[in-house]
């Protein structure tokens, strides 16, 4: 990975983080806005090592949990796990095709929702079908669409 591309990726991840909180917290769009934080984490996980991805996930999760009153830690666990799993995919899948990118962001976002659903506790948990299958799938598709744009912006390997 060239230094220029690494910089571009990290700037993009920072922009996604800012945009995520601006849309969700600043402007209060809620579910209307995509989960840019997970997209940013999945993007970063492909660029850094396992430890870096885990730390990034931990930081992103804590940021989200800071605004979560009743289930502190659920986002932290989910994001850290996704960061680690995202970094693992570097060893498991080699490729930069559009299909891979779509599957990667869709599966990443869906798994993030699933882990969060598991960690949030029974008292706050919504029905599995509604929360994970329906909303998780919809959120995954949304994240895949946004992720595809983000990958395009980050640039392809080999580009300066």
């Amino acid at each position: 990975m060239s230094a220029a591309r690494a910089w571009r990726t990290w700037i993009l991840v920072a922009a996604l983080l800012i945009l995520h909180f601006l849309l969700h917290v600043g402007l209060g769009y809620g579910r209307g806005a995509p989960d840019l934080l997970t997209v940013g984490l999945l993007l970063a996980a492909r660029e850094v090592g396992l430890g870096g991805a885990a730390a990034t996930g931990l930081f992103f999760g804590l940021l989200e949990d800071a605004l979560s009153v009743l289930a502190f830690g659920a986002n932290t666990v989910a994001m850290t796990a996704i960061g680690i799993l995202g970094a693992f995919t570097r060893d498991l899948f080699v490729g930069d095709s559009r299909l891979f990118a779509i599957s990667y962001f869709f599966a990443g976002k869906w798994m993030r929702d699933f882990i969060h659903w598991v960690m949030v506790g029974e008292g706050l948990r919504q029905p599995f079908f509604d929360q994970v299958l329906v909303q998780g799938a919809a959120g995954g598709a949304y994240a895949a669409a946004v992720g595809l744009v983000a990958v395009t912006l980050a640039g392809r390997p080999g580009e300066p």
Partner: protein
């Protein structure tokens, strides 16, 4: 997206795994931290990294609240305007009624006070209904007046109501003269391109008579339909001169029919000369619309 080959088993790689496991353990521990520690972490992040976003939301909320407040104030202002405008109409009606009351006292029982109703339907322009009729002594051709002058003439009489026409009606005619009795003619409606351009014309006056602008024109009583001395309007300008033997003049009407709501209707007991009724006030320049000015 980056293409990466399998990571080689190096010391750095093992360190990465160890660090990642450590971070994961830390993450798994966060739900089990004490509530105080969780709150401290949350407050720290809210006051630092998340502060700009929370501030943005606060500003947005305040802006929305201000917008709601503006809507509320606007509705209050609208309500107030509605009240003020209603009171303005009420004051105007009050003034009209007071004027009419003065005229009623001077006219005596020969004139009946009533309200003007306008149908407002197509084809009824220049027509109005009054709630007095044959039973009260109203007859066809009776004068309908307000404190300012002639409003119109009764055309159809029914038992308890009548239909009248004002000078906006194309059929309106009235024998008229200057208030000093020097010049006689016929006042009639002249249609404009639009209804709003209808005007009153004093027609058929002698060519050699010199009529000054602003002179009051009243009914002459010559036709035997309308009593003498009811103000119709003031001479505004010369309309046309025909062949050196006849002149006509535009008049500024004494009464705007559209604004009239209460009138007096002449009965069979009405006197043939009403000059004295308006002598006290209406014939003075301040009661009939002032000149000069554009036509209606």
């Amino acid at each position: 997206m980056a293409v990466y080959g399998p990571e080689r088993e190096t010391q750095g790689g093992r360190r990465q795994v160890t660090f990642a496991v450590g971070v994961m353990m830390l993450a798994l521990a966060t739900p089990y931290l004490s509530e105080g520690v969780q709150q401290e972490i949350a407050f720290t992040l809210q006051a630092s990294a998340l502060q700009p976003f929370i501030a943005t939301q606060q500003r947005l909320t305040e802006t929305r609240a201000n917008a709601d407040r503006i809507d509320y104030l606007q509705s209050e202002l609208d309500s107030l305007s509605a009240v003020v405008s209603t009171q303005s109409a009420l004051a105007d009606e009050n003034r009209t009624l007071r004027e009419l009351l003065g005229l009623t006292e001077r006219a005596g029982p020969a004139f009946l006070p009533t309200t003007v109703l306008r149908p407002g339907t197509p084809g009824s322009e220049g027509m109005f209904l009054v709630e007095v009729g044959f039973d009260e002594g109203v007859r066809e051709g009776a004068a309908v007046v307000s404190a300012r002058g002639l409003v119109g003439v009764i055309r159809e009489v029914r038992g308890r109501s009548s239909v009248g026409m004002d000078w906006n009606n194309p059929d309106f005619r009235a024998s008229a003269m200057l208030v000093d009795g020097t010049t006689f003619g016929i006042v009639e409606n002249v249609r404009g391109t639009f209804r709003e351009q209808d005007r009153l014309m004093l027609n058929g006056t002698a060519y050699h008579e010199d009529v000054r602008e602003g002179t009051l024109v009243v009914t002459s009583g010559l036709s035997g339909v309308l009593p003498r001395g009811i103000p119709i309007g003031r001479v505004e300008s010369t309309a046309e001169v025909q062949g050196g033997w006849r002149k006509s003049y535009w008049l500024r009407p004494a009464v705007e029919p559209g604004s009239v709501t209460h009138v007096l209707v002449e009965t069979v007991d009405g006197p043939p000369d009403l000059t004295v009724l308006w002598a006290a006030d209406s014939l003075s320049a301040d009661r009939v619309p002032a000149l000069p000015g554009p036509g209606r």
